[in-house]
C-alpha cells in the first residue's frame, strides 16, 4: 500500500520496538532457510497492517519500553535476545483479577495481554504469507483462488458401522 510519511501513526521508537518485537517472536533460522519477522519486507507489511490498531499497539509498545527500562535500564529494542524473549513470553500470561501481587515492574494487565495478542496476530499474519516462508513450508506462494486445492474424497465405506447401528434421532411429533 502506498503511504506518505504523515500517514504513519507510529513514532520512530514505536516502529523500532514493533520490529524488534517481531524479530524476537519469530527469529530468522538458517536451519530452515527462513528470514525473521524483522526482515525488511515482512516488517514493512507488519507496520502497514498494524496501522489499523495503532492506538492500542502504540500504547503497548510504549509500555514495553518502560518495562524494559525499569528492568534492564535499556529500551526493548536494545535488550539481548534472551531478555526480549523473556519479556514477551511473560506478557502472554493474563493477570487474573484476584492476583494479589502488585509488583509494579511486572504490570501484566489485561490491556497488555490483549495488545500482545493483537501484535502477535499481525506478526504471524504477515510472516506466514511471505513467499519465502510459504515455500519453506512446501506451500505454493499463491492465493488459494482461482486454482483451488485437491482434497481426497476419502473412503465412504467407513460409514458402514454407523449405518448398521440405525437411526440416532427422534421422529418429529406429528
Amino acid at each position: 500500500m502506498d503511504s506518505i510519511a504523515t500517514d504513519n501513526p507510529f513514532t520512530a521508537d514505536q516502529e523500532r520496538a514493533l520490529i524488534a518485537f517481531a524479530g524476537a517472536a519469530i527469529p530468522a533460522s538458517s536451519a530452515y532457510a527462513v528470514p525473521g519477522a524483522d526482515d525488511p519486507l515482512i516488517a514493512a507489511d507488519i507496520l502497514a497492517t498494524a496501522r489499523r490498531y495503532a492506538d492500542a499497539i502504540g500504547a503497548a509498545l510504549d509500555r514495553e519500553d518502560r518495562l524494559a527500562i525499569a528492568r534492564h535500564g535499556a529500551k526493548f529494542v536494545d535488550l539481548d535476545a534472551a531478555a526480549k524473549k523473556s519479556q514477551i513470553e511473560r506478557a502472554n500470561q493474563p493477570r487474573s483479577s484476584d492476583d494479589a501481587s502488585d509488583d509494579a515492574e511486572d504490570e501484566l494487565d489485561r490491556a497488555r495481554f490483549s495488545a500482545h495478542r493483537t501484535m502477535l496476530s499481525i506478526i504471524a499474519q504477515c510472516y506466514y504469507r511471505d513467499d519465502r516462508v510459504m515455500r519453506s513450508l512446501d506451500m505454493e506462494p499463491r492465493s488459494p483462488f482461482p486454482e483451488g486445492f485437491e482434497v481426497e474424497e476419502g473412503d465412504w465405506s467407513l460409514l458402514e458401522p454407523v449405518r448398521r447401528r440405525g437411526k440416532v434421532y427422534r421422529d418429529a411429533p406429528r
Binding site: 517472536a25 527469529p27 535476545a81 524473549k85 483451488g148 465412504w156 467407513l158 440416532v168
Partner: protein, 377 residues
Amino acid sequence: MPPVPMGKSGQTLAKGFNQLGWHWWPSDTAIATQQYDGRDRCINLGACGSGCAQGAKASTDITYWPHAVRAGVEVRTRCRVREITVNDEGMASGVAYYDEEGVERFQAAQVVIVACNGVGTPRLLLNSTSGKFPNGLANSSGLVGKNLMFHPYASIQGVFDEPMDGYKGPGVCIWSQEFYETDAERGFVRGYTYEINRGRGPVATALTGMFSGRIPRGEGHHEAYRRLFNRITGMVGICEDLPEEHNTVTLDPDLKDAHGIPAPKIDYTLSENSRRMLDHAVARGTEVLRAAGAVDIITEAPIGVGGWHLMGTARMGTDPQRSVVNEWGRAHDVRNLFIVDGSIFVTSAGVNPTRTIQALALYVADSMKKRLANLFD
C-alpha cells in the same frame, strides 16, 4: 448433491469414532460441491470463514436475494430502522429509518416482518415505544429481550504425527451427534453436536501454537511450528444453551449508535448445565481424538471468541403471557407484525442455528401465504 470430501482429517477422525462405536455423519456445510443455481462448485479454497471467492459457499446475497430481486423486491442497503410505528388500532403502520446519507425517512407498510436476529430484533422492539406500547412493541409478556441463548462452544483439537488436510478444503468435514440427547447419568440435560474441523492454515497454526504455549516466541519457534503445521485436526462441541430469563438484551441507558438510537446491552451468565456440558464435550472429545491417534490435545472451553449465535429473545408459543410471537411467527400483540429470525427460538438446539432460522423463515412465509385472506384475524 454429494457431501464435502472427508479428506485425511475426516477419515482419521471417522476411524476414531468407529473405534468407540460412536455416531458420525458426512457434512454438506452449506457448500455447493457441484454447480448449482448459478454458483460454481467448491474447489477446496479453505478460506470459507472469510468469504468464498468461488461462490460455492451459500450466503443470502447469492442464494435468496438474487431470486427475490428478480421477483421485484427492492433492497435498500445501509439503512437503519429506528422504530416500528403503530396506528390508533395498535397495528404496525411502517418504520422510521435513516437512509445511507443519514436522512430520516418513513416507510409505510401493511405488514412489517422483522429479521434483525437475536440482538437486533429485541433492540428494535424495545426502541419502538408508544402510548399503546410503553414497554416496547409486542412486549405485553415482558419477554422481549429475555431468555437470550448462545451456543457455548468447547474446542478440542488433536495434534497428529501424520499430515492432515491443514489449510485445504472446507473448514468442516464430518459431524457427530453421539451426545445430542439427554442422558441423566451425564449430570446435565440436553446435549451437543460435534462439528469436526478439518485443519488450520499457517497463521491459525502459529496463533494456536503460540497462545497455547506449544510454540515458543524466539528460539525454538520454527521446530515447534513444524510439529503442528498440517498436523492439527479436531472438533468443537456446540452445546445447547437453555432459556433463562436473567440472560437478556436490554437498552443501554447511555450508549447510542451513530444515529443516536439506544444501543443493545447484553447480560449473560453461563449456566451450570452448560458448564457441565462443555466439560463433558472436552472429556469425550479428548477420548475420540486419542482413539484416532492424537499425540497431544489442545482444549479451550468455552472458546473466548464465541457467543455468535443469538437466540430466544422474542420466543414463539401459543400462550401470549409466555411468548412474544404465536406458533406461526405473528406477534401476539400486533396482528401485522412478524418475526423470522433466531429470536423466536424457544430452546437453542445443540447445533448451529442458521438452517433452523431459514426453515422457520420459510415456514412463517408459507403460513402467511396460506392465510392471506384472513392474515390479521
